[in-house]
Symmetry: D2
Subunit: 360 residues, 4 copies
C-alpha cells in the first residue's frame, strides 16, 4: 500500500442509514477503512465536499425496484484527495495526492459486453456509490483507482461535485440527443438543479435552447445562462402549441425530460418535430413513460434512456465546466444539514444544488 505522509484517522463523521427505511444518523465515530485493508485496485479518498441528489433520497428511502445495501452511507458526488492506494494495485491511473471525484458509477468491470462497447454504466458487474457500496456522506470513502475521476485544474471542488452527477447526466443526455448546432432543444425544468446545467451545456454546443419552467427568477436565470426562448408553464394555455410556435412551428428537435410523470413523455411525443429525440433521464421510484404508438411511429420519434455517463463523458463534462463554459448554482452546508436537505428535496423547495462541506 502507498500512503506517503497522509495520516489516516481510525474514525470519521458519516451519515448512516442503519436499516431499510431507518432514520438517517450522523455519527462521529464511523470506522475508516485503513490503507492496509484496501484490496488491489481500491483507493481511499479524503473528501472535501459532496453534493446531495434526488438519487440519494431514493437510496435512503429504498423506494426503487432494486434495493440499496444497508446499513448504507449514501452520496455519489464527492470530491477529495487520494490518500491511500491498495497494495498490488495494477497500473493505477491516479496517484497519491491527486484530486479526484466519486461519481454514481463507482466501478465497472471494463470487460463485459456493455463495458467493451463503452456502456460502462450498464456493466454486468457495476457498483454504485451510496447504493451498492458506501458513498460520500462520510469523510473518507473507499473507491476504485480505475473509476475515480481526475478533477482538472481551474474548477472548485464544490463546483466539480455537482458536475459529477447532475452535470454529467445532462451532458450525456444532450450529447446523445442527435441535436446539432442550430437545432432546437427543449429543457423542461430548465431552472432546476439539472436544468440550469443543461441550458449551459446545450448553449455551449450551439444548440438553441427553449427553456420551460415557472417564475420570473428562473426565467431571468435561464435567459442569462444562454436560453434563447422561455415558456412559463403556469402561464401558457396550450403548452404544446406554444412550444411549436417558439421553435418556428415544427417543434424542437430534441427534449431532455427529467420528470417522472407519464404526461411529460406523452406531451413530448406531441410537441417534438418529426424525427425528434426524447431523452429520458429521470430515475423515479415508480413511474411509467407512455407515448401514443401511432404518433411515435408516424413522427418517427426516438425515445432514448440515458443513464448518468461513462468515464469519458465525466471527463468531458468536467473539462467543459473547468474551462468556464458551465457554472453550477449551489449552496454549501455542513454534513449535519443532510436530513433537512432530503426534506427540502422531497418538498421541492431546494434551489440549485446543495453541496456538503465534509471537513467542516
Amino acid at each position: 500500500m502507498s500512503t506517503a505522509n497522509y495520516i489516516i484517522p481510525k474514525t470519521q463523521k458519516a451519515a448512516v442509514v442503519p436499516s431499510v427505511g431507518g432514520t438517517l444518523e450522523i455519527r462521529d465515530n464511523h470506522p475508516v477503512r485503513q490503507p492496509k485493508d484496501l484490496a488491489p485496485g481500491e483507493c481511499l479518498v479524503k473528501l472535501e465536499c459532496t453534493g446531495v441528489c434526488h438519487t440519494d433520497l431514493h437510496a435512503a428511502l429504498n423506494d426503487w425496484p432494486v434495493p440499496a445495501k444497508t446499513p448504507l452511507i449514501g452520496g455519489h458526488e464527492g470530491v477529495g484527495i487520494v490518500v491511500a492506494i491498495g497494495e498490488h494495485t495494477q497500473a493505477s491511473p491516479v496517484k497519491l495526492g491527486d484530486r479526484v471525484g466519486i461519481k454514481w458509477l463507482a466501478y465497472s468491470c471494463l470487460d463485459c459486453e456493455p463495458c467493451r462497447k463503452g456502456l460502462e454504466q450498464v456493466c454486468d458487474h457495476g457498483e454504485y456509490s451510496g447504493f451498492t457500496v458506501d458513498g460520500t456522506f462520510s469523510q473518507y470513502v473507499v473507491s476504485w483507482t480505475s473509476h475515480v475521476t481526475p478533477i482538472p485544474k481551474g474548477i472548485e471542488s464544490t463546483e466539480a461535485a455537482s458536475i459529477l452527477c447532475a452535470g454529467l447526466t445532462v451532458y450525456r443526455a444532450i450529447k446523445y440527443s442527435n441535436a446539432k448546432i442550430g437545432d432546437w432543444i427543449i429543457l423542461p425544468g430548465a431552472g432546476g438543479g439539472l436544468g440550469h446545467l443543461a441550458v449551459q451545456y446545450a448553449a455551449a454546443m450551439g444548440l438553441r435552447v427553449l427553456a420551460v419552467d415557472t417564475g420570473s427568477e428562473k426565467r431571468d436565470l435561464v435567459l442569462k445562462l444562454g436560453a434563447e426562448k422561455w415558456i412559463d408553464f403556469k402561464e401558457t394555455k396550450n403548452l404544446v402549441a406554444d412550444i411549436k410556435a417558439a421553435t418556428g412551428g415544427a417543434g424542437p428537435h430534441a427534449a431532455v425530460v427529467t420528470a417522472a410523470n407519464s404526461a411529460a413523455f406523452e406531451e413530448a411525443v406531441d410537441y417534438l418535430r418529426p424525427g425528434g429525440t426524447l431523452m429520458v433521464v429521470g430515475l423515479p421510484g415508480h413511474g411509467k413513460l407512455t407515448a401514443d404508438i401511432f404518433f411515435t411511429v408516424t413522427k418517427s420519434i426516438s425515445i432514448l434512456g440515458s443513464y448518468v455517463g461513462n468515464r469519458q463523458d465525466a471527463r468531458e463534462a468536467l473539462d467543459i465546466a473547468a474551462r468556464g463554459k458551465v457554472k453550477c448554482f449551489y449552496t454549501v452546508k455542513p454534513l449535519s444539514a443532510l436530513q433537512e436537505t432530503y426534506e427540502g428535496l422531497a418538498k421541492g423547495t431546494v434551489v440549485g444544488r446543495v453541496v456538503l462541506n465534509m471537513q467542516d
Copy 2:
C-alpha cells in the same frame, strides 16, 4: 402527355368506401383519370395486383387519430405498368411501360426539412396511398413519377406487392435497430405477415433470430426461414426468462414489436439486453406504449418509432427479395374478396398476406 400505344378505358373496377364508416362497394364503373388530366409529375399506373394490409382496414374504418379522405379507394401495395405520364413532367425517373410499385408513401415534397434529411416518410407535405389520396384497390391509379418504385427483374409482381409494405416496414425497422452481425434480434409474431419477412431479412444480415409466435406450423415455417431459436408464447411459463435464456442469458440486442398492446412494450424493456433497441412499427387506431422509466434509463434502452420506409429503403427491400433472399407467403384472390379479407384481418384468421389480382 405521353401515352404511347396504351389504350386507357374510361371506367374501371374499384373498391370504394363511399363515406366515413360506410360499407365497401365494389364498383365496375369507377372513372379512370385520363392522361390529359394528369398534372405535371403525375403518372397513371395500370395495376396487375395489390396487397391487402391492416393499414387498409384502419383507413376503411377511419379509426385512426388522423382522418382518411372520403370517398376512399384504399390500397397501398400495388404493382403495375406506367401507362401515362402527365404533360410537362420534369425529368421523370420512370418511363412508359416501366413496371413500378405504389407504396404507402405516395408523395413527399423532397424539399422540406424532413425530406432534405432523408426522412421522406414524415414529409410536411406527404401524401399516402389509400388514405389521403386514392390507392390501389382499383385497376388504374394515379401516382407521382418521383415516388413510384421501379420493380427489379427477377421478382413476381405478386411477391413485390407485399414487399412494398410489409417487407419495407420490417426491413427498415431491422436496418435501423442497431443490430449487427451476430447480434440477437427477437421477432414477436414471427410467423405472421410482417414477421415471416422480418425473419428472412434479419437472417440475411447475419443476425441471430429468436422467433416468438405460437403453433407448430409457424414454428416449422420460421425455423425453415432462418430463425435460430423459437419460443411458443402459449407454452412458456415465463416469457421474459425464456427469452433471456434463449439468448445466452442477457436478452436480445433488438426487438421489432408490431403489436399494439402496451404489455408488449413493457415486456420488451424487461427482456432486452442493456443498451438494447426496441423498434416500434405498429399503427393501431388507439394504443399507448408504456415502459418503466427506471429500467428504460438504467438499462439505457432505445425505443425507436419506425415508419414504413423511404424510397431508398424500398429499393433495398425489393432488391434483396429479387435476389432470392426473402420470399413472401401470400394467397392471390380477386378484388371481390376484399371485404372478406378485411373480416379475416379483423379476426386474425388471415395466414400470410393476401394479394388481389386486379386484372381478374
Copy 3:
C-alpha cells in the same frame, strides 16, 4: 410562366469566357433567357451580388480533370430575387420575389442512389453553376426552383454570397469531422477566405480551435473570431511538435485541410491524435494526397473527402450566419473587377472574399 410585375430586359452585363483558355470578356449585351423560354422547374434570378472563388478560376482556366462548358459564364455564389418561374413547374418551393442563393450545386435529380441517400453533391445527374451550366457572373441567371437556396432574414446579400460556397464548404467539413464539443480542431490557413469562416463555425459548436497561418494581422483576426490557440507556420521550427504541444500533447481530434499540396496531408496524419479525422476539401487542378500507410492504419486515421454541401447543409450554414454567429470578411467590387480578382487569387494576394455588385 409567372412573372408578376418584373420587367425582364433582353440583354445584360455578363463576364464570358468564350472558349477553352480564352480571355474573359465583360459584355454588355449578353442575352437574358426570357420567362417564356424557361423549362418546367427552372427559374430566373435577378442577381444582386455574387462572390468570386478559387473554383471559378479553375473553371475559367479549365485546368481540372473534368472540362467546363464553353462559352462559359462562371460564378456560383450569387444572391438575388426570383423574377420568373417556368410554366408548368411542379410544387415550387420558392415563389416570385423570394430572395435566393445560387450555389455550386445547381441541380441534382433527387432520385438517383446518391440523392436518395442525401449525397446530392455527387448526384449522377448533377449540374454545377458556372461550370456545367452558366453561373452568376451575369445580371440574370437561370437555375432550378428545387435547388436555389432561400436566404433567411437578418443577413446581407453580400454576406450570404460567401456563405453559399466558402461557408458551406467549411461548415459541412466541420460537421462531418466527428469533432464534438471540447475536441480540438486544427485549421491550417485559418486567416484566409475559407479559414476565417471555419474558425467561427467551429467555435460556435464548442470546438477548441487551433489556428495555423502567418502574420500578426491574421493572428489577431482569428483569435478575435474565437480561435483558442495560434501557430505562425513561418515562425515554428517544428510544426508537428508545436501542434501536438498546443493541444495537450496528443494532437488535434480533427483537421480541415484546404491546401492542395501533398505535404499538408502527410503532416496531418502525423500530428492528428490517434483516431483523428482529416477532412479534405480542396479542389486543385492536379494534386495527390499522400499519407503514410503504416501510420494511417496504426493511428486509425480517417481521411474524408468533403464536397461543398447539400441543400440542408446550405440552410444550416446560412441560418447560423444569419443569427450572427459567423461573419464574413469581404470587399465589394464591380463586375469589371473580375479579371483583376482572378489575378489576385492566382497570386494569393486577395484578403478575405471578393463579392461583386451585379447591379452596379
Copy 4:
C-alpha cells in the same frame, strides 16, 4: 498466484531473434517465466498452436518505422490454456484452465482517451505481442488477463489462431466500412490469407462480394466461399472499367485494400462509387497511400485506417467463426518450419495461413 495442478517447466522451445536483423534461432532451453514471477494482472498461457503472419516478418526484419524489442520472440496469433495467474490479480475475467487466444494487441490500459472511447488498439500505453513484448513463438507466453481472448466452444484452436489476427483484421475493416446488406464490397486479394476470410465475413453480413485475384484455383475457392462475382486481374484489360461493370456500373460501395502499393489506393478512389469507403488495413514497412485530391473530394470518398481490432471485435470475429459462418484455410507445421514460412511469405508462395503446432 494460482497454478492449480499445472506443472510449469523451467525451459521451453522458442524461436528467438537475438538482435536487430539477427538470424532466427529455434532454442530448446528458453526460460519459462514462473508463476511466482508474474505481476498482478499477468497470466501464463501454455500454447497449443500459433499462426504466422506477415506482421511477424516485419517484426523479425525490424523494417517498420517503429522498432521491435530485441531479443524478440515473435508471434501474435496463439491459442492455449491459462496455466497460471499472477498473485493479487484483480477481478480476472479468465480462470485457470480456460482456453484463450493471444492477439496482436497484448495490452491496453483501458483508461486513456482512446481506451475510454473504445479504440484500445491505439492505446497510449499499448503493448503488442511479438513486437513490444515477447509473443507466441514459444511454448509458454506471458500475457494479461484483461486482454487474452476467451475462445468459444465449437472452434478448433488451429482455426481460432488465424481468426485472432487475419480474421479480426478483415472483420473489423468490413464492420466499419459503412457497407450494408445488398451493398457491393470489393476484395482485392480475395483468394489470399486475409482475403478468403474477408469473403466469408462479408457474405455473412449480406454484402455482395466482388472478388479480385488471379488463377482458377482462387476463383473457384472464393466463389465457393460466397463471392458473387470474380475478376482475374491478370486477364482484365481495364480493371477499373471491369469493376464498375461488375457492380452495375457505379462501382462498389466499399473496398478493403490490404496491399502496400500506392497504385492500389489510387485505383480504389477511381473505381469506388461516389460516397464509397476505402478501408486501409495493410502494414507495410514503408509505403504511402496516394489518392487524387480532386476525385477524393468530388466523389466524397472516405479513406479509413483500420488497425486489427479491439476486444469486442475479437469476440465477434471468433463467435461468427465458431458458429460455422467462416472457415480458415491453413496448414499445420512444427515450430521448426518458421524460418521457411517467413521465406515463403516474403516470396508470396504461402497458400492460406500457416499455423505452428507448439506442442509438437
